[in-house]
């Protein structure tokens, strides 16, 4: 039994303009100790998926259906009291912007101990000791002194470390990191990713990392979920996604990326704009931007089908397997060939 098993998750927001289908039938699962990367562009529904699992969407105007079984209990169906016991204790979350994710009027130490005291029956002194321990574990220099500082006295990278400390303080089984390094500089990003890897080895938590950076996914995730316009369009083990991508959108993502390990004169661009989730395109939602579009794509939404020859690799595309293999190889070969000459 997986640690978290999400089945046919749907999150719809009622707005003045109509219903926005922010997440539309997402299914995935994650085992203990594994890392799942969710990639996609802004508005693809990757963040909303995780906020829904945590029950953090505003209740008003939100319709949620499906199941999110965490240790065989449905997070979506359980009462608030039980959900609160799980939040921050069994499942913790790190957010994108460390500058705004900490309360400016409370000391760092108090924000950390708050998390301990909410879930553990310990004294304030013990909680503070635990906070100090975690601040040291995430590499805050002079933690004994800094524990009584306020967030504005920390740099962005240091605040993100504090957020990680806060997330790990109750030894969660699952850590959800929503774009944890997007707001940080590249050297700080390296520090934070390093730290997350180290802590995962130490604490053995499962991690869901949401990002738009394929480099981060390639280096940290075991499994990958590619989302486009509120749906999963491809999923599978990281090696298969990068070596044998089977969906034109994934090709587009890979090809549009300027990268250090390959020389490309011209980037493969995905034409057009991401669609509106208020009125998503008919059939395959990627069809208006897809260079391989066929008639069937405009009519029927392709289901996620297993990719022959691969294990646990699924893609949602009407193209036949041969074409997909040929095009994927061309794309990847192009890169590699050019990398040699460059």
């Amino acid at each position: 039994m997986a640690l978290l098993d999400v089945r046919d998750l749907k999150t719809y927001f009622k707005t003045d303009d109509g219903i926005v289908k922010a997440v539309d039938g997402v299914t995935f699962s994650i085992e203990k100790g594994r890392t799942l990367g969710i990639v996609g562009e802004s508005g693809s529904g990757k963040s909303v998926t995780c906020l829904t699992i945590m029950g953090l969407n505003a209740k008003r105007n939100t319709i949620t259906t499906g199941e999110a079984l965490f240790k065989e209990q449905d997070l979506l169906g359980m009462g608030m009291r039980r959900l609160r016991q799980i939040r921050g204790n069994d499942i913790a979350m790190i957010f994108q912007d460390p500058m705004t994710s900490l309360n400016p009027v409370h000391k760092i130490g108090n924000q950390l101990t708050e998390a301990v005291l909410l879930h553990q029956d310990v004294t304030k002194k013990q909680a503070r000791a635990r906070a100090l321990e975690l601040l040291k574990a995430v590499g805050i220099p002079r933690a004994e002194r800094r524990v009584d500082d306020y967030p504005h006295q920390f740099s962005g990278g240091m605040r993100q470390r504090v957020m990680i400390a806060m997330a790990l303080i109750n030894d969660p089984d699952l850590l959800i990191a929503d774009e944890p390094t997007t707001a940080l500089d590249v050297t700080t990003q390296a520090q934070i990713l390093n730290l997350m890897n180290k802590l995962q080895e130490e604490f053995g938590s499962a991690i869901i990392i949401i990002t738009h950076d394929l480099g981060v996914v390639a280096e940290t995730a075991d499994d990958v979920l590619v989302m486009y316009a509120a749906e999963v369009v491809e999923q599978g083990p990281v090696n298969q996604i990068f070596s044998r991508p089977h969906m034109p959108y994934t090709w587009g993502l890979l090809g549009s990326l300027p990268r250090l390990d390959a020389e490309t004169e011209r980037l493969v661009q995905i034409t057009g704009q991401p669609p509106s989730l208020l009125r998503p395109p008919s059939g395959c939602r990627f069809h208006p931007r897809c260079p391989y579009v066929m008639d069937v794509c405009k009519q029927t939404d392709p289901p996620l089908k297993p990719v022959t020859g691969d294990i646990d690799h699924y893609a949602a595309c009407h193209l036949d397997e041969e074409t997909k293999d040929r095009e994927a190889t061309k794309l990847l070969a192009g890169m590699v060939a050019e990398a040699r000459t460059g």
């Binding site: 939040r87 913790a92 912007d97 306020y150």
Partner: protein
């Protein structure tokens, strides 16, 4: 922080000069003569000249202003020359109208205005905080819409009109509140039964509400906006993700942050409220600074007017300073920068 305080005080001094000079200039531009009032029926040339001399009006404006300012200083240079103590009470002068010390006029009226303004501030906070928070938590609900109606009325209705309506309804038609009049909080003046905290409170309920309605309306709107904004902050989401119950999220992550700007506004609005008090005091016949100011203006009583202006300016400056310090105390971002 000290540097900041000194700078604030220097600015306060500049402000003080500006306000008092302007009051003087306006007084001398008005084509009215306090001496005419002093002489009453006896409008002879001789009487007027005597009155002019007596009131000090025969000297140039800057000399009069200099004398006024000299009285304000707590040092007595004349006294020093004659071997007396150089320290003296700052004096606001003597009233043109009734020859009383302005100090004692202001001293008598200030507690009335203070009761009205501070009690009014408490009233408007008591009204606006719960309504503002509740309507933020339930936007577009019946309560929220009702609150917005109240805001609209509160902002558009003038306190004089509200005061008169209240008096008519609650004092004249239904006798549940007194028809104006002020009762001393501590000890009743000799020969009256009206005094003590209970009577003080009872007599001030209507004035407080009248005075507070405008600000309560503004504050409902501000608090509602602040709370809604804070609820959308990332750190509130962090608190919920920690597993904090909603009551705790509200208490320690939403309300404290949402109330920070209210503290600053409160300082400015209490100062502003001193102006609004004029209307309320006149409607309810409360012997506060506002009513005294109006009477002194009617009488061309420059020392009293100037005295109230001076007192008001000092009170506003002092109050703003206190609020700044308070704000620094509750917001670490200011305190530590």
């Amino acid at each position: 922080m000290i540097r900041y305080l000194i700078r604030r005080l220097l600015w306060a001094l500049v402000l003080f000069f500006a306000v008092t000079v302007v009051t003087y200039v306006i007084f001398f531009l008005i084509p009215a003569d306090p001496a005419q009032r002093a002489c009453g029926q006896l409008q002879t040339q001789q009487c007027l000249e005597q009155a002019h001399h007596f009131l000090g009006l025969d000297r140039p404006v800057y000399v009069q202003y200099g004398k006024f300012f000299g009285r304000l200083l707590p040092f007595d240079f004349n006294g020093l020359a004659h071997g007396h103590s150089p320290i003296k009470m700052p004096s606001l002068g003597i009233s043109f109208a009734n020859r009383q010390q302005v100090n004692s006029i202001v001293g008598g009226a200030a507690p009335v205005t203070a009761s009205l303004v501070f009690g009014g501030a408490v009233t408007w906070l008591l009204i606006s905080i719960p309504i503002g928070i509740l309507s933020a938590l339930r936007p577009r609900s019946l309560l929220d819409r009702g609150a917005m109606m109240f805001v609209l009325i509160g902002i558009s209705a003038h306190p004089v009109w509200i005061g008169l309506i209240f008096l008519y309804l609650f004092a004249f038609k239904v006798h549940i509140f007194p028809l104006g009049e002020y009762c001393n909080m501590i000890n009743p003046p000799v020969g009256t039964s009206c005094g003590g905290p209970v009577q003080w409170f009872y007599h001030l309920i209507l004035p407080w509400i009248t005075f507070a309605i405008l600000f309560a309306a503004l504050y409902v709107r501000m608090i509602r906006a602040n709370v809604i904004e804070t609820l959308n902050e990332d750190y509130v989401r962090t608190a919920r993700a920690k597993g904090a119950p909603e009551s705790k999220v509200m208490r320690s992550h939403v309300l404290r942050n949402a109330m920070l700007p209210v503290v600053t506004m409160l300082g400015m609005d209490i100062a502003l409220g001193l102006g609004g008090a004029i209307f309320t005091e006149n409607v309810y016949d409360l012997p506060g600074l506002g009513r005294v100011l109006r009477l002194s203006l009617d009488n061309f009583d420059l020392p009293t007017t100037q005295g109230i202006v001076v007192f008001g300016t000092v009170a506003i400056i002092a109050f703003n300073l206190i609020v700044d310090l308070l704000y620094a105390a509750i917001d670490p971002r200011i305190r530590l920068s």
